[in-house]
């Protein structure tokens, strides 16, 4: 009996996937927030959201490190500059690409965001900086011990805690913004009926620009928090490649129109992935799939959600 109990607990370590799931989930949720915001307001999927994040990470990295052309600035100022860069890129995207296409079918806008993503990856690739490097973590910049907590021998990175806090704060702020501020409600009004919004005196153009600026901000925050070791880097396209698809699944699971839903969906998808990827040697047959259990699990969840409950867990029409 005793032997069985020990072997059982050593085989099913629930804590490790739980913690890594929450950490990854925070990342998906952070990107998902921006996706949800733009879906809520423009009814499009923004495939460039991951690149808003990468741009922020690249700019933050360059300012944090300092080169011949770019002055070295304090770490948190560098992060702020990175986020600012993401906001500027988002505004430029809105003015140059989205606005000329505003009255065209949504699928055109989606294809255009794919183009923006490709373009930004290309642009980053042309910049002269070490492209396999990664941003310093917050604890590294503050010169403190990198691992803050150890729960039952499982380390918790404080960068992951920072991601989680940022995600929670941003989700709540965004929720409040849409529920209680004039600009937030104006964005919702435009998303429901642009003509009617114009009739009551809302400037559709300005609202559209504000929305994209906020999306750029959310993407930028995600970028500077994600592009750190061990998994993250400032490689062109890295955030798009690593997290964008999963972030979409998270946003869909939470409900494409719900900002707190992005938070919940992100964490759930992170957990699903982590538990699917965990050591399943105690479940016969489950390990026969080679490396993609996590992806398969996420795909199955996504399909099931879309077929059974297309509005996701917390979604409703805005």
């Amino acid at each position: 009996m005793d032997v069985l109990a020990t072997s059982f607990s050593s085989q099913i370590n629930l804590l490790t996937p739980l913690i890594s799931g929450i950490a990854n989930g925070a990342a998906y949720g952070l990107l998902g927030l921006g996706l949800v915001l733009l879906y809520k307001s423009n009814r499009i999927f923004n495939f460039a959201q991951g690149e808003f994040a990468t741009i922020a990470a690249v700019v933050a990295y360059v300012f944090d490190r300092g080169t011949g052309w770019v002055p070295k600035v304090p770490y948190f100022l560098a992060l702020a500059l990175g986020i600012l860069a993401a906001v500027l890129v988002a505004i430029a995207t809105e003015r140059l690409v989205i606005r000329p296409l505003f009255n065209r079918p949504r699928v055109v806008l989606v294809v255009a965001t794919v183009g923006v993503a490709l373009f930004l990856i290309g642009l980053e690739g042309m910049l002269p900086y070490p492209q396999t490097a990664s941003l310093r973590t917050i604890s590294d910049a503050l010169h403190v011990q990198a691992y803050v907590t150890q729960v039952n021998g499982v380390v918790v990175l404080d960068q992951d805690i920072a991601k989680l806090i940022a995600l929670a704060v941003l989700a709540v702020l965004a929720f409040v913004f849409f529920r209680y501020t004039p600009t937030g409600t104006a964005i919702l009004a435009v998303s429901q009926d642009a003509t009617a919004a114009r009739v009551v005196g809302i400037s559709v153009e300005r609202i559209s620009m504000t929305t994209w600026a906020i999306a750029g901000f959310l993407g930028g925050v995600a970028g500077v928090l994600l592009a750190v070791p061990p998994a993250g880097s400032v490689t062109p396209g890295s955030i798009t490649g690593l997290t964008l698809t999963v972030a979409f699944s998270a946003a869909v699971l939470g409900g494409m129109t719900s900002l707190p839903g992005a938070f919940v969906g992100g964490l759930l998808i992170g957990l699903i992935e982590a538990f699917a990827n965990a050591d399943h040697s105690y479940v016969p047959g489950l390990n026969s799939l080679p490396t993609a259990q996590a992806e398969v699990a996420v795909a199955v969840v996504l399909l099931a959600i879309l077929l059974v409950r297309p509005r996701g867990l917390l979604g409703q029409e805005a």
């Binding site: 065209r104 949504r106 294809v111 794919v114 490709l118 869909v252 992806e295 399909l303």
Partner: protein, 375 residues
């Protein structure tokens, strides 16, 4: 009201017999010579060029498969590379030649199986995914693409235990140029299919669906089965391209379709069908060939201008920038794409008087305007 007129624009315009004289046809024939020279003579220049030309032919087939899906049915797929990969995987595993050349029978079986298995996969995915409306389909195909690549292509017994599955060509097609001619024939088959879809009841049904699903179903078009048919035909064409791809590389390697390489392919496929002009097969073929040839083209230019080291360092990013730039200029300034630009010439070659005006053939309406695909 507008929806009904839109529905009608997708139909084939009444054919008028153009009175082209023998001299007129001869002139057209003369102007066709440079095209024939480009297609048949230039790739003969060297083995490398033939190799690139085969790759361009494969991309042209993928472009046509995207054209059926995006151009005619108005669905967007970000997972087309998975069908290409499924085709390649099937063909390679059917022949799995070891070190010898395939015999003609297994070779043909491999090519046919590639198309069939990809079609089956498309039917499977379409059966589920087509119930999902609007933009979510793009998301589902995106996830399908990466999941198939990472879950199926990495199964050791299917990918030759990570070493690749050899797929040597039969002796008759051993030479690159002979195989190029075979690839061209396959492109011809895809073009034939495309023309058939466009002119048949199926094509008219699909275009009616794309333009307005409600109106089309009111006219008796079976929404789900027509969409599924478009999806399956597109998958079969991509699978056929995959079969040719396997014998072009003479090997199936999962690395061509997994993670970043696969995702990049998926994006390029969307870019090329949009840049080519949705629903316009000449434009799509030209754009596909261009995107397939970007690398050798720019490598050549860089080589002659002394930028070679810069080029090789930034290779992937340069084609990204070009693709993105072309895509954005197409959707913003020139929604008809390359096909729109080529249209006066293709019309002239088909025996109509030369004119730069539009002729109302609005097969490319998916991007041109209207509310063809709704979110």
């Amino acid at each position: 009201m507008a929806a009904q007129t839109e529905f009608l624009t997708g139909l084939e315009a009444p054919r008028e017999r153009a009175g082209v004289t023998t001299g007129g046809w001869a002139l057209r024939g003369l102007f066709l010579l440079p095209v024939l020279w480009l297609v048949f003579w230039v790739p003969h220049h060297s083995d490398d060029w033939t190799n690139d030309a085969i790759f361009a032919a494969i991309y042209a087939m993928v472009g046509l498969s995207m054209n059926v899906l995006v151009g005619y049915t108005g669905q967007i797929s970000l997972g087309q590379q998975a069908f290409l990969g499924i085709g390649a995987l099937t063909a390679a595993n059917v022949v799995s030649t070891g070190t010898t050349a395939a015999d003609p029978f297994t070779f043909s079986a491999g090519i046919v199986a590639a198309a069939l298995v990809a079609a089956a996969a498309a039917a499977l995915l379409g059966g589920v995914a087509l119930r999902i409306r609007g933009l979510y389909l793009a998301l589902v195909t995106l996830v399908f693409g990466s999941v198939t690549a990472d879950a199926i292509f990495t199964i050791p017994s299917l990918n030759g235990h990570d070493a690749g599955v050899p797929a040597y060509r039969p002796t008759a097609l051993q030479g690159n140029y002979a195989f190029y001619l075979f690839a061209l024939a396959m492109v011809g088959l895809c073009i034939y299919l495309d023309v058939w879809i466009r002119r048949s009841k199926v094509g008219r049904g699909l275009i009616a669906l794309r333009d307005n699903e409600l109106v089309a179903s009111a006219f008796g078009v079976n929404v789900l089965s027509y969409k599924l048919l478009g999806f399956v035909l597109s998958g079969a064409m991509a699978g056929l391209a995959g079969g040719v791809f396997a014998f072009w590389a003479q090997d199936f390697s999962d690395k061509d379709f997994t993670s970043a390489a696969g995702f990049n392919k998926a994006l390029i496929f969307v870019v090329m069908v949009v840049v080519g002009g949705l629903g316009n097969r000449t434009g799509v073929i030209a754009a596909a060939a261009f995107f397939a040839l970007i690398d050798p083209l720019f490598a050549g230019i860089a080589h002659h201008t002394g930028w070679l080291s810069f080029y090789t360092d930034h290779k992937a990013y340069i084609s990204n920038l070009i693709g993105a730039g072309l895509l954005l200029q197409t959707v913003i300034f020139n929604p008809g794409g390359l096909g729109q630009v080529l249209r006066p010439f293709t019309r002239w070659f088909s025996g109509k008087p030369f004119t730069m005006h539009h002729d109302g053939d609005a097969a490319g309406a998916a991007l041109g305007g209207g509310d063809s695909v709704r979110a």
